[in-house]
Amino acid sequence: MSRMLHAAAALLALAFVPAAHAQKEREVAIGLQAAITSIDPHYHNLSPNNSLLLHIFEPLVKRDANQKMVPALATSWRAIDDLTWEFKLRKNVKFHDGTPFTADDVVATYKRVPTVPNSPSSFATFTKPIVETRVVDPYTIVFKTAAPHVLLPSDLGSVYILPKAVAEKAATEDFNSGKAAIGTGPYKFVEYVPNQRVVMKANYGYWGGEEPWDKVTFKILTNSAARVAALLSGDVQMIETVPTSDIAKLSSDKNFALSDKVSNRVIYVHLNQWNDKTVPFVTAKDGKPLEKNPFKDVRVRKALSMAINRDAIAERIMEKKAVPAAQLLPDFFYGTSKKLKPPKYDPEGAKKLLAEAGYPNGFAMTIHGPNNRYINDDKIAQAIAQFYSRAGIEAKVETMPSNVYFTRATKGEFGYMVLGWGTESGEQGSSLRSLLATHDPAKGMGVTNRGRYSNPEFDKQVTEALVTMDDKKREAMIQRAAETAMNDVGLIPIHYEVSTWGTAKGFRYEARTDQYTLATGLKPVK
C-alpha cells in the first residue's frame, strides 16, 4: 500500500512540473504553413526553406520587401566586362562560431553547392555559370562566366554562405542536428524538429544591428484552420497565409491586424499547342474531334483571355486578395511593361473572335487544374468554366491533387491547364524565358513551357535581352519581349496572389512580395 502511495506521489509531483510556456516579452512564436525539409541551405531549393534559413545564413546579396537587391555580405558589385563580375565583401562580419568572414568562405561555399548528395533540387543552377573564381584580397572576389550572365548577382542571392571549415566537411545531417548550422545571420540555430518546429535565438553580435527578439519559435501548422486558431488563442503572435475565409473575421477584430502585399506569384493558363492538328480534351460540341488545334490560332487565345472576368474572380473568389494580371509579375517589378493591362471582360467580343476563327458555335473542352496547390485553385477553375459558357464555350472542370496533376500536365496530357508561377529572382526576364520561350530544356529555354507555345520573334527578343549587361537597356528589351508574348497570348494571366499575414495586437509585419515570413520583419508596436 505504501508503495502505491509513493508511486502516486511521484506521479503527482511530475504532473505539477511548471509549464515552460510562460511568454516572455522578447519571445515570439510564428505559425508557418509549409514544412521545412532541411537546415542545410544547399540541399533543397524550396521557398519555405530559403525563407526560414535566411535568419541563420546570409547570401552576398539580399532582397528587400519588394525583392529589390540590397547589399548583404557583399557591400557592392559590378560587371567589369561582359564575362567578369567583381564583388566587394563586407568587413568585420563574424560567423556564429566567432570566425571572421572572408572571401575564402565564399569560395568554399560555392564549391560545396554542386556536391551535396541526394539533393532533390540543387542550388548548382545558381553557381554553374561561374567558370573561374579569383580571390583578389580577403574582401574582393572576382567571378568569370563562360557566357554573359546578367543575373549573376540575383542568382548568388539564393546561395547562403557557410564558414570554410563547415563548407568543406559538413553533411546535411550535421545541419539538422545544429552542429553545422553556423552562418552570419541575425539569429542562431537552437533546434529543428522536422514537421514540428524550428527554434532560434538572437545573434547579439549581428553586423546589421540588434533584433527586437531574443528567441523565435517557428511552428509548422499546415492546416489553415489550426493556424488561425493558434493566432486567436495567443499560442503564436503571427501566422502566414491567412485563409481567405477568415480574412473578414480577423480584419474586424481589434485584437489582430492583417498585413498584405501583392506577391510574385501569378496564376495563369497554359494552352496545349504541342500538336497542330489535335489537342487533348478539346472537341466540337457534339463530341467529334476538331479539324485542327484551335489554340494555335491567336484569335482563339485572345477570345479565351477576354472571356474571363478577372475582377469578379479577384473580388468574390479571392475575397480581394488577388490583383488581376496582365503579365508574369505586378508592374512595379524589374522588366515589367506598364503598357500591358489586364484584358477587359468582354464575352460578346470573345464570341465574335471565335466566329472569325471559324468557331461560330464555340467548342467543348475540359479545364484541368490542381486542387491543393494555389489559393482557391479549384474554385478559380470552376469560375473560368462559368465565364466560358457565356462566350459559347462548353467547359467542364476536372481538378486533382498536385502530385497527380503536375506529372500529367508536364506530359502534355491536358488541353487547358490552370497553373501558377512565382518569380523568386524578382525580375521578369528569366520567368518569360522559362514559361514562354520555345521548349528546349538543354539550352534552358522554355523549361516549364507546358503549353509549348512557340514564337521565334519572342525567343530572339528574350535571348538578346538576357545577355545585355546594361541594366536600363536590358529592362527595355525585357519589356518589349513581354509585350510581344502577352499580345500574342502565349499564356493567359489570371491574377497575382496577394499574401496575407495575421499578427496579434502589439505586433506589426512588413509584408513582402516573395511570400517569405521573416522574424526580422516583425516589429513590436505600441
Binding site: 506521479l11 511530475l14 504532473a15 505539477f16 512540473v17 511548471p18 509549464a19 515552460a20 510556456h21 525539409t37 532541411s38 542545410d40 540541399y43 533543397h44 531549393n45 524550396l46 548528395p117 541526394n118 539533393s119 532533390p120 533540387s121 540543387s122 548548382a124 543552377t125 546535411t172 545531417e173 539538422n176 522536422p194 514537421n195 514540428q196 518546429r197 511552428k219 509548422i220 501548422l221 499546415t222 492546416n223 484552420a225 489550426a226 486558431a229 493558434a230 486567436l232 488563442s233 495567443g234 499560442d235 491543393n372 491533387p401 498536385s402 502530385n403 497527380v404 503536375f406 506529372t407 500529367r408 508536364t410 508561377w421 522559362s434 530544356p441 538543354a442 534552358g444 523549361v447 516549364t448
Partner: protein, 326 residues
C-alpha cells in the same frame, strides 16, 4: 502456441512483401516525384541529375528490386524530401502517435464500457436513453468539426488548453512521452478526446447490445437465483462473457487509430506519423510511404496476435493451435 506463432510470422512476411509491391506500384502510378521536388526553373541537366540522384531513372521493377535487397538488410531507403533514413523519420514520430492512440483508447474504454453497461442493464430508463442519444452524436459529428469546436471553446474562448502541438516530454524507458508532465497532459487532452469520441460511441453501443443479450442468458438467471450480489453477477458473469467481441473491436480500432489519426493530428498539429504519411503522399516521398505502411502493417499483425492470445485467456474453450488449424 509456438507453432501458431511461427505460422503467423510466415504469413506476415508474405503480407509485407505483397503490400510493399502494391504501394510501390501505386506511388509509381500517381506521378513523378521530380515534378514536385525540383525547382521549376531548373534546366534539363539539373532534372536529369536529380532523377538519377534519387534512383528514379531506372525501370520500376529494378527500383523495386533494389528496394527489396536493401530492405532485406534492414535499410528501407532515405526520404526524397528530408534526405534522412525513412525509418528514422517514422520512429521519431511514432511515439507521439502511439501515445495519442493509447490515450484515446483509454478514454474510450474507461468511459464507453461503463456507459454501455449502464445502458444495457436499464435500456428503457432515462439514463439509458440519454446515453444512446449521446452515442449517436458521437458517431455522426465529423471529427474535424468537433476538433475545431474544441479548440474554439477551450483555447480561444476559455483559454484553458493550448490549441496545438505536443507538450513537454520526459523519457520513459528511453521513449519520449508527454503524459507524465502537466504541460504534456494539457496538450494531450483535446486531441485524445477528439480521437476517442467515435470509438467511445462504438464501444457504448457494442457493450449495450452484448449486455442486453447476456442478461437474458440462463447462466445469469442462475447466478441471480443462486443469490449472488448484483455486483458479482455483472462484474463476473456478464462482463466476462461480453468481453470477446469487445476485445476484438478494441484491437481492430486500436490499429486504425494508430494508422489513421491523420485528421486529428493535422487539426491539432500533433507531431505524429499520420501527418507524416499525408505529407509524404502529397510529395510522393515514396521511401517514407512504403516504410510507414510496412511499420503500420507490422503493428496490425502484432495487435491481432495479442487479441488472439487474449481470446484464449478470456474463453477457456479457445485453443490457439486449434484456431490456427482452421
Amino acid at each position: 502456441m509456438l507453432a501458431f506463432a511461427i505460422r503467423r510470422l510466415g504469413q506476415s512476411l508474405f503480407v509485407l512483401v505483397v503490400m510493399s509491391f502494391l504501394v510501390f506500384l501505386g506511388v509509381y502510378a500517381i506521378g513523378n516525384p521530380i515534378e514536385l521536388l525540383v525547382n521549376p526553373q531548373a534546366d534539363a541537366v539539373e532534372r536529369a541529375r536529380a532523377t538519377a540522384a534519387l534512383g528514379l531513372d531506372r525501370p520500376m521493377l529494378e527500383q523495386y528490386g533494389v528496394f527489396l535487397s536493401k530492405a532485406a538488410h534492414g535499410d528501407l531507403g532515405r526520404s526524397f524530401v528530408f534526405n534522412v533514413p525513412a525509418i528514422q523519420l517514422i520512429l521519431q514520430k511514432l511515439p507521439a502517435t502511439l501515445e495519442l492512440a493509447f490515450a484515446a483508447m483509454v478514454i474510450a474504454i474507461a468511459i464507453g464500457i461503463p456507459l454501455g453497461l449502464a445502458a444495457g442493464l436499464r435500456p428503457n430508463s432515462y439514463i439509458g436513453r440519454t446515453i444512446m442519444a449521446g452515442s449517436i452524436l458521437g458517431f455522426s459529428l465529423p471529427s474535424f468539426w468537433v476538433g475545431l469546436v474544441l479548440i474554439m471553446v477551450f483555447s480561444v474562448q476559455l483559454g484553458w488548453l493550448p490549441p496545438n502541438g505536443r507538450g513537454e516530454t520526459v523519457l520513459l524507458l528511453g521513449v519520449p512521452v508527454s503524459f507524465l508532465t502537466w504541460d504534456g497532459l494539457r496538450h494531450l487532452a483535446m486531441p485524445a478526446l477528439n480521437l476517442a469520441l467515435f470509438k467511445l460511441s462504438l464501444l457504448v453501443r457494442l457493450t449495450r447490445a452484448s449486455t442486453r443479450e447476456a442478461v437474458l442468458q440462463d447462466y445469469v438467471k442462475f447466478a441471480r437465483a443462486k443469490g449472488l450480489s448484483p455486483r458479482r453477477v455483472i462484474g463476473v458473469h456478464v462482463l466476462k462473457n461480453i468481453m470477446i467481441p469487445i476485445v476484438t473491436v478494441i484491437g481492430l480500432e486500436l490499429g486504425s487509430v494508430i494508422a489513421f489519426a491523420i485528421i486529428t493530428e493535422s487539426i491539432f498539429a500533433w507531431p505524429g506519423s499520420g501527418k507524416l504519411l499525408i505529407d509524404s503522399i502529397n510529395q510522393l516521398d515514396r521511401p517514407v510511404i512504403v516504410a510507414y505502411l510496412l511499420v503500420i502493417v507490422t503493428i496490425f499483425i502484432a495487435i491481432n496476435f495479442v487479441v488472439d492470445v487474449l481470446y484464449s485467456v478470456l474463453d477457456p474453450r479457445v485453443r490457439l493451435g486449434a484456431a490456427a488449424a482452421h
